[in-house]
Each structure stands twice: as C-alpha cells, then as structure tokens.
Symmetry: C2
Subunit: 285 residues, 2 copies
C-alpha cells in the first residue's frame, strides 16, 4: 500500500494508472475510520481495480466556530484499517500542500446548499465541493464513494459532477449504525458518555416518522410533531433542524406524496453535532 502526501506525486501515479486502463475508485475521508468508511472501501474495491483512500481533515469546510481543532484523528489505526481492507493508495496531504497561501479559486453551489446543514454551516459545502473537486483532479477516479449519512453532501456532489461534467461516477453506501441505532460518525467519539447515551433518540425520532407514514399520516407538520416528541427524551441535545425535503431538489414539502422525501435531522449535543436521515415515500417501507 502506497502512503503518499504530495498531490503531484499522486496525480502522476493515478495518471499513469488511467493510461494503463486501470479503473480507479476513490473514497474521500477525514480519517478516524469506522465501519461506515470500511463499507465504502468495500464498494470501491468491488467496482474498481485500484482503491485510493484520501485522509484529509479539510480546514476549508469548517466554520470559525466549528470543531476543526477537536476533530478526532488516529492515523496509525487508519492506515492499519486500509491495509486490511486492501486499499492500494492512501493520500494524506498536509493542508499547505492542498491550499496555496494565495489560493483564490473555489466552487460554489447556490441552490441545494442553502437549507439543512447549509443554514447553520454557511461555508461548509463550498469547502466540501472545492476539496472534492481537487481530490477528483488529483486522484483521477472513475468512481467515488460517499456515505449516505451525509445526505445533503452526496446530493451536492452529484450536482457538481453533473454541472461541471466531472468524468466520475458517484456511488453511495448506506448508513452503517451502532448496535443501538446511532449512525456511525467519527464525531461520536467527542460525545460525553451522557450525550452518547441519548444519541439513539435521533434515529428513534426518524423511525417515528416512518411509523407515522405507515400508519397513514401524510401531513408533514404532524409527523414532525411526533418525531420531536420522541426526540425530547434527548434532554442534552438541541435540535438544529428536522426537515422534510424533496429528495432531488431539497425543497421543503408539506405533504408526503408521490415523490421521494428526504427526512434529515441535525442535533447539537455537547461535544458534537450529529446528523441522520431517512428517505420515505408515500408507501414507505
């Protein structure tokens, strides 16, 4: 397994791979790998000849008051995981190798990024899209795999690929959960034991929505009320948002009707802001 830090060196290598007809799969991560990440590696492994995992806590996607300084890391353990999973190359650049001091070009999205996490994290998605575009150009993947926990992120990345014509196919891996239902996230490590004990109520509030729809409820306000009632058990958490949006346009809806609806939630706990989501339809399963 190659472990490389220099973007130019990675690009020279992946460029050479492409010339040889090698299909490259990219799994972009911020490290502190968990089973969710490993599931994405396995998808890449299955669909591509060579798997590149990037391990980079991207500073430009964190706002000034966010948890960049507290984001957990464990490089040695991450590299060991990658070796075990058969990753071919780990790309772990330093921030200064990714961003020149006079860096001035970035990518912006003006529609899908406005609501949900974009509301409380105004610089986040511009930072995400810019670093993903850079990773695409450096790693030259045929496919790239992202987790469905970051629901808004993956929709934005698909939009960027479409609007800027990146020659990359975007695949997604379903949310991987702890035994108690909490969506796996590197940030879970930053929760106090008390907050961690309350985190399952996030998932349970989404399941309450699903049950409500199965029971025939179609009114979004009523479904929200049911969900919030469940979530109120998480006394340490503060709801950032609970939104029902069209799965493609991310525009809020007020009825559960024909189209697919993304139900997305973000809860700020002491130590970490957690997100989760489900997709429902009229005949939700």
């Amino acid at each position: 397994m190659d472990v490389l830090v220099d973007p130019d060196e990675v690009q020279a290598k992946t460029f050479h791979w492409k010339r040889e007809g090698v299909r490259i799969g990219l799994v972009p991560t911020m490290g502190f790998l968990h089973e969710g990440h490993l599931s994405l590696i396995r998808i890449a492994r299955e669909k591509a000849d060579k798997v590149v995992l990037s391990l980079f806590v991207n500073p430009t996607q964190f706002g000034p008051d966010e948890d960049l300084d507290r984001y957990p890391t464990s490089v040695e353990r991450d590299l060991e995981c990658c070796r075990k999973e058969g990753v071919d190359m780990v790309f772990m650049p330093k921030p200064h190798a990714m961003y020149a001091e006079d860096s001035s070009v970035s990518i912006v999205e003006k529609s899908l990024s406005r609501g949900l996490c974009g509301l409380s994290r105004p610089v986040h998605f511009g930072g995400v899209l810019t670093v993903v575009a850079k990773l695409f150009n450096i790693c030259l993947p045929d496919i790239a795999v992202f987790g469905e926990k970051d629901a808004q992120q993956i929709r934005l990345i698909r939009r960027m690929v479409r609007d800027l014509n990146f020659p990359v196919e975007i695949l997604s891996g379903p949310i991987v959960r702890e035994e108690d239902g909490v969506a796996m996230s590197s940030r879970n490590a930053n929760l106090s034991p008390e907050a961690r004990a309350q985190a399952p109520w996030i998932r349970k509030s989404l399941l309450a929505v699903e049950e409500g729809v199965l029971a025939g409820e179609r009114d979004v306000e009523k479904l929200k009320t049911q969900a919030k009632q469940v979530l109120s058990k998480a006394t340490l958490g503060e709801l950032d948002y609970l939104e029902f949006v069209d799965d493609e346009t991310l525009v809020p809806v007020d009825k559960v009707a024909e189209s697919r609806i993304l139900v997305a939630i973000a809860v700020q706990f002491p130590g970490a802001r957690l997100i989760d989501n489900i997709v429902i339809t009229n005949a939700s399963n």
Copy 2:
C-alpha cells in the same frame, strides 16, 4: 474530422483516447476563427497527438448589457479552417447541453478577477472559469492553449488549474496582429469602418509606454499620461482602463521596477470593446 455536439459523446471519445495514451490538446474558442485562433491550433498540433477545438459562445460569461446577441458567428467557415489546420475533433455544443435549467454549481475567483476587465464585467470571469472547467472535464486535455490577448483570462485559468489541481498544462500563444497593429479579435468585425480606422491607436498607446520605459521613465503615472495622449487620437473610443499591474498578482504598481509588469488596456468603441496588452520589465525590450 469529428464534429460533435453532445458533451457525453465527446467525453466518451476523449476518455478512450486517454486510455490509449493519446496526448490531447484543447483549443477553446467562441468561433469566428481568425489567424490568432489558428496560431493556437498550431501550438496544440505541435504539442499533442490529437487536437480538439471547442466552438461555443458561452452565454454565462456575458453580462446582461454585453454583446452576446451580437457576437459574430460563421460556423461553416470555422469548420473549414479546422479541417485545413488538421483539427481532429470540433466540439460545438448547444447552450442547453452545457447548462441544465437547474444548474447551480460554478467556479469563483476572488483575487485576480477583481480588477481590469473584472471591474466592468463582474460576471465574466466566473463564467469563463466555469465553462473552461467543464471543457477540461469533457475534453480531458493534457494541454490547453489560450491566447495572450486575453491576458487576465489566461492568468485566471492558470490559477484555477493550480488551485483545483486540474491535470492540464496551460500554454499560451502570442497576440497575432493585423498589418496595422490591431490585435486580432472576432469582435473587430463589429466595429464601424470609422472605429476600425481608429483602433490602431490602442496598440500605439502601448508602444508609447514601451518607448517611455526604454527612454528611462519609471513612473507609472507619467507613462500613463503619455499613453493616454496617444490614445486621445481615437476620438470614437472611450477608455475603460489602462492599468499597470504585477504580472503575477495583478496588483497595480506605481513604478516600473524589477518584476514583470502587465500593461493592459480596454477601450470601448461603438460596436465593440477592444482589449490589448504588453508585458514590460525594467529593461523593457
């Protein structure tokens, strides 16, 4: 010579070329080809195995009051030129194939794009960078060739390539001029005969700067005064800007010193806004 309109079809073809180890040269144009464009094709021809010329009057780089509707076209003549010059593929998409109705992702630059043409054309360079990024992703060039007449544009494109890590080498071709010194531009066709007759004063004003420097003048204000005096003969033209800026940062300078200085000018004539430039140094030649 292939003439293709579908971005996906072009991408499939260029992707296949890359796999075969073919070096691709791209010459992005808005059509109405002149000798300036042909010189760029020849550079691409020399440096690459296959030459792709894009022919697309990109609507997003024109402001609402600009000359999109009046931009000259001559597709049949352009294709004939391309055939003669040995172009391998012409890519001439329709606007709706390049921009989805709900297109929402674009590229922004916040430093080099602020002055010079960016001042009077605030949406221009975002549009240019976005379409060039798309063309890079569709045509997958190893090299791309741009004309030095568009001095700010080529510096912005190099900056984008650096900041977003595009695996593309940017080459430039020197300004090609008419016999009377006017920089070739498709827009020259939109000048009235009277305005066309006055257009050489733009170039002459730049030559006055060069002469001034050779004569020992180092003060930018004085050099500007000399140039404007020459330009005053172009009674139909209105000076948009005449700027002396650092060739790399595009920050205005007030002395001709060690570093390379870009002297850039834009003049609005009835029918067309013309630009031109020279690069000078302390020991200007």
